[in-house]
Each structure stands twice: as structure tokens, then as C-alpha cells.
Amino acid sequence: MNFQLIGVNHKTAPVEIRERLDIPVASLPDALKRLVQHAGVDEGLILCTCNRVEVLAKTRNGSADLRGFMRDYFRVEPSTYESHLYEFSEREAIRHLFRVTASLDSMVVGEPQILGQVKEAYATARTAGAVHSHLDHLLTRAFAVAKRVRTETSIGASAVSVASVAVELAKKIFGSLNGKHVYLVGAGKMSELAARHLLAHGAASIFVANRTHERAIVLAEKFHGEAILFEQLYDTCDRADIVITSTGAPHAIFRREHGELFLSRRKNRPMFFIDIAVPRDVDPEMNKMDGIFVYDIDDLQQAATSHLADRKQEADRAEQIINVEVDRFHDHLQTLTVVPMILSLQDQLESIRQAEISRVRGRLGTLSAEQELAIEALTHGIVNKIMHTPITTLKSAARNAEATTVIDVVRRIFNLTGQRKQDEKDASQAVIEAPDAPEEPEN
């Protein structure tokens, strides 16, 4: 199977580059259309978040020119971003997708938002008609793997612990959170999580300002808070003791002059800025001001790391799960190559069975319904037993890359002429339904 993936993320490219490769949600269907029209591309999916821009494709021969697609699509000088690109194919592409979906590649490892973002990208691609059986299969698997990682390791706890570290820090500054006001600037999942923790520890109220005011209203309602127009941010921010920022703004939105303004309005009562955004929303200079404390995502995570001594161990366990799942999925893909063969074998034997039954049926005279069923069961049983070994052999041969020889041998033994025409979605289904085929364990 030919999967290819190309992209940039927060590790390989600075935000200035990622920004230039950003595709607005509204343009995604068009981008997907152009992706599947690109030479050699059968199916495609584009994942675009603030930390990554990735193009995943099922290609005809595994060597589609995805860089060419990027050059065509983005009107950006390729030399500015090409050195930041990573490319994966096949196994490595699968592994990368699994890692991303399971939040192992995230800036805050284990943060819950990325899974939703991949799901959104998948839904968009489906609606645009860019995803068919192969990517469908791959993505479904990726979601299952992400779920497995989340349930079997405590990696998700690290993101939660970032939120609880925020609470702990707030307590170090304010003592008790009772009566403290929280201001959410930007309405992301992480800030929502942090806000929920702060409220649970006694914070009095929540203000929400977001560039899209409707989202601010939705989030504010969730916490019985107050939605504030983004334009009024600087006029209202001094009302908050704790400010959680997570906007996608390319530059700092809180700078020294804002800090001075807030402090003078607050009569120097301290303020705690929790900056979850990348790039940062709060100028680090503000941390030097008397009465203002700024923690960015790295600081929080560092503090969280010191809490979870076994965090690395959890990440390792998650990586192991990914490895196992990549192997399993890869094997599964390999078996798909012999599916048409298996189907034609099944067809052949089924037609022999039918022919034999109709040949002897006349001689048996009238039979009771039970006897009819018994004959059906008996013949089915024989056929399945006969087919079991060849099918298992075919599948394991497929995994060992000797498929062509074995397929040839089986074809000659059973004298199989043509292959049944079948779309591959049915094919993958058939593999699972083949008699005595090893069950895919559900997680």
C-alpha cells in the first residue's frame, strides 16, 4: 500500500514558516481537490493546526511528488520552507500519523485537542471526496490506536497535570483562589481545561474573549461566565487575576505597556498570566515586572514533568503501543494484496459446492427442512476446512513478501482463471470475514 506524508511541525519549522503554509478552513476542500488531482495521488488528507501542516496521501506507486503539490499549491518561495519539510512513506508514514493522533508528537505530549483536529481533517476530506477506502481504513485505525494509548497509558494525565500545575502556581501566588477572576483569551481546549481546574479550586468567575465572538459566547455559557468582545480585551483585562491566553496571534498580544496599564488600574494587585499559545501571546519581558507572573507552556510543562517522575516511562510505553500497532496495521495492509485471490478462491469453491448439491439433490427425494440445513452445513463445513490452510498460507506469505509466488501456485492448483472484480473496500471487509481468519482484536 502506498502511503506518503509530507509536512512541517513545531519541531522542524518556526512559526513564521508554519504560518505561511497555513490553509484556512474555508480553503481546505479546494486544497483537497487539487491534492487528489495531483499526478499519482489517489486519496488525500490535509491536517492543518497551529503546530503543524501535513499532507497525507495514498498514491498509486508510492512515489507521487508531494513536494510538487506544495510548490503548486502554496504561493510561497519553496526555498523558504523546503529545508523544514519532513517526508515519510509507508510504514513510517503510518507511524507518524499514529503518533500525531495519539498526541505523542504534540508540543504538550498527551494534550487531548489533536485527536479532535485529526478527526476534523478526516471529516473535511471525506466530505470533499478525497478519502476512500484506504485512508478511511488508516484513519479509523489511527483513532483506535489513539484511544488505546490514552486508556492504557497515563500520557493524557500529563496534559491534565499542566492544568493542575497552573492551579498550584496560582495558589503559590494568591494563596486561595476564592474570589479570583479568570480571563480566557482565546478559546482552546487546553485553556478550557485549565479554567475548569481553576474553577474547581474556587475561582469566582470566568471572562472569555475570542476573535470569533460566537465561540467566546459558547465557552462562557459553559462556565456561566461572561463573553467579552475581543476589541475590549485591554479595557477589561485588569478585572482578572489570572489570564489564560491561547490565541493564534503571530505576535505577543500582551506587552509591557499593557502590564503597566493593568497594574496601575489594579493598584498593583498581582496578575498571573498563563500563556499556552505558540507563538507566545505574552511578551516574556512582562515576567520582569513587579506583580506580574508569566508562565508559558514550556514552564508549565517543566513544572509538570517534575511532578510526574514516570512521565518518560509512560511516553515509552505509548511508543511501544504505537510500534505494535504499526506492525499490525502494516501486516494487515500486506494481506490486502492477496484479498482478490482469496475472494476468487472462495467463489470457485462456492460454485463447486453449489454445483455438487444441485447434482445430488434430485436423487435424495423430499427432505425435511432440518435435513436441508444439515446438507448446507456439511458442505459449508467441508469447503471452509479446505479453504482454511490456503488462506492462512496466502496471508502469511503476503506478510513475508513472497506473495506473487504463492499466489501463482495457488492459482495453478485450484485452476483459478479470472479474478473477481471487487472494489477494495469490500476486499478488506472480506479478509476479516474469511473463514477462521484471525480476528482483529477490538480495543
Partner: protein, 269 residues
């Protein structure tokens, strides 16, 4: 006898200080040994002062050593009040060593009283007790400032584990500092007034150029400025901490004026 009880108290203070230092290194609480030891020390300390005051009258307090002893007890009392109100033992880092040093100095030997012919004895006692209560509050405020600066630095530099992780919340430290200032101010003011009444009665006039009176007035002014800026301009945090440190230094200078003041000779020269 008073000196004996004071030395017993000193022994308990030493035990408390040592176990507090150990607790600091091991990052455990002070509740097992340090606090009980300091409390028992306070009881003996009180007994010692009472025994000094009862036979010879309140003027016993005008001796330098008894004065030190009284100041140590007042500072300890301030610590205990903070402990009961805020549940924090952190000021102990600064207060325990100071109490130990003051008590140690007081327990070395007994000094004769200098004010043998008291004028307005009641006013003099009021002056000493009030001023010392003010000093204790000021010292506590200074301690809170030190703790504030430590805690603030920890929070700003984002190094949150280690020896100081038991410090109270920043705003709580700020509040302790502010409340001690607020609490100490009337004592300090009334104490200074009482002192001036005594000086007026003793010398017939007030020599404002005398170093003791000048520096004390200056200290009081710094104290008032500090309260005013906090109350009016909302000065808190680092600036307030520096100011509280400044007021404490001013108080130390005013105290040192005892060595060269003509009218306030409590120190044998």
C-alpha cells in the same frame, strides 16, 4: 533566679532553632520539635521576665539586657500570632535566629539598671513596652519582606522545588507584612509620644537635634510613608518589601543612636 530561667529558655530556643534548621534541610515541618521547644522556651522566658519585674518594679525593664529579653519575647509572640492566624512557620527562618541572639545576649550576665531615679516611671514603661511592640511588628514585617523577595524570585525564575517549597503564598506573605506594619504603627507612634513626654519631663525641653530623637522621628516618618504608599498608591510586592527593609534599617540606626545620644543612655559606655 531570673537569669537562670532565661538560660533555661535559651536552651529551649537553641533546641528549637537547631531542629528548625534540620527541618529546613530535610524539608519537613516544624511541628514535631521546633514549635513545642520554642513554646516551652517562651514560658520560661516569661517567668524570667516576671521574676525580674516583680521584685524591682517595672523599671527592671530599663536595663539593656532585660530590654533585649523583652524584645525577644515580643518578637516570639508576634511569630506565634502569625502562626495561629496564618498557619505558617516560615517567618521562623528569620525570627528564630534573632530571638536566639537577643536572648543569648540578655542571658550572658545581669546588668545594673541605669535609670536609678525615674521620672514619670509609668510613662517610661509605656514608652519601652510600646516601642518594643512596634519594633517586633516592624521586624516581623521585615521578615515577611525577606520571605516575599525569596518567594517572588522563586516564582519568577520558575524554580519551584527545593528547600523553600514550603513558603506560604506570595499574597499571604504580603498580607502578613502589611498587617504587621499596620498593627505596629500605633504602638510605635504612642511609644514615641511617651518617650517625648519622658524626655520633656526629665530635661525640661525636647532637643530635636539629639541623634536619638532625630533618628527616631526619621524612622517614624519612613514608617508612615511606607504605610501611606501601600494604602494610597497600592505599593506592594517588591517595592513594599524594599521599603519595609528600609524602615527596618532606619529602626536599627535609631536603636544604635543609644550609643551616642546624650539623653537616651541605656548602654553603659
Amino acid at each position: 533566679m531570673p537569669i537562670l530561667w532565661l538560660r533555661v529558655a535559651l536552651g529551649f530556643y537553641a533546641l528549637g532553632l537547631l531542629s528548625a534548621l534540620l527541618a529546613l534541610i530535610r524539608q519537613s515541618g516544624l511541628h514535631r520539635i521546633a514549635l513545642p521547644a520554642m513554646s516551652v522556651g517562651m514560658v520560661f522566658h516569661f517567668v524570667s521576665l516576671a521574676e525580674a519585674v516583680i521584685p524591682s518594679g517595672p523599671l527592671a525593664l530599663t536595663s539593656m539586657h532585660n530590654a533585649e529579653s523583652l524584645l525577644a519575647l515580643l518578637v516570639m509572640t508576634a511569630f506565634m500570632i502569625v502562626y495561629f492566624v496564618y498557619g505558617t512557620t516560615s517567618p521562623g527562618i528569620v525570627i528564630f535566629p534573632l530571638v536566639f541572639v537577643l536572648t543569648f545576649a540578655a542571658a550572658t550576665h545581669q546588668q545594673p539598671f541605669l535609670f536609678t531615679s525615674p521620672v514619670l516611671g509609668g510613662w517610661l514603661i509605656a514608652h519601652i513596652a510600646l516601642i518594643f511592640a512596634g519594633y517586633a511588628a516592624l521586624f516581623l514585617s521585615f521578615t515577611a519582606s525577606v520571605l516575599y523577595l525569596i518567594q517572588e524570585r522563586r516564582l519568577k525564575s520558575k524554580k519551584l522545588s527545593g528547600v523553600m517549597s514550603r513558603l506560604p503564598a506570595l499574597q499571604q506573605i504580603d498580607e502578613i507584612g502589611y498587617r504587621s506594619l499596620l498593627f505596629g504603627f500605633p504602638f510605635m507612634t504612642l511609644g514615641l509620644i511617651a518617650g517625648m513626654v519622658v524626655a520633656q519631663a526629665t530635661f525640661g525641653h525636647l532637643d530635636f537635634l539629639d541623634p536619638k530623637i532625630l533618628l527616631s522621628t526619621l524612622m517614624w516618618a519612613v514608617y508612615m510613608v511606607m504605610l501611606f504608599t501601600r494604602w494610597n498608591a497600592g505599593w506592594r510586592g517588591r517595592r513594599a518589601a524594599y521599603l519595609a527593609t528600609g524602615a527596618f534599617v532606619a529602626a536599627l540606626i535609631a536603636w544604635s543612636a543609644n550609643y551616642f545620644s546624650a539623653i537616651h543612655k541605656v548602654v553603659q559606655s
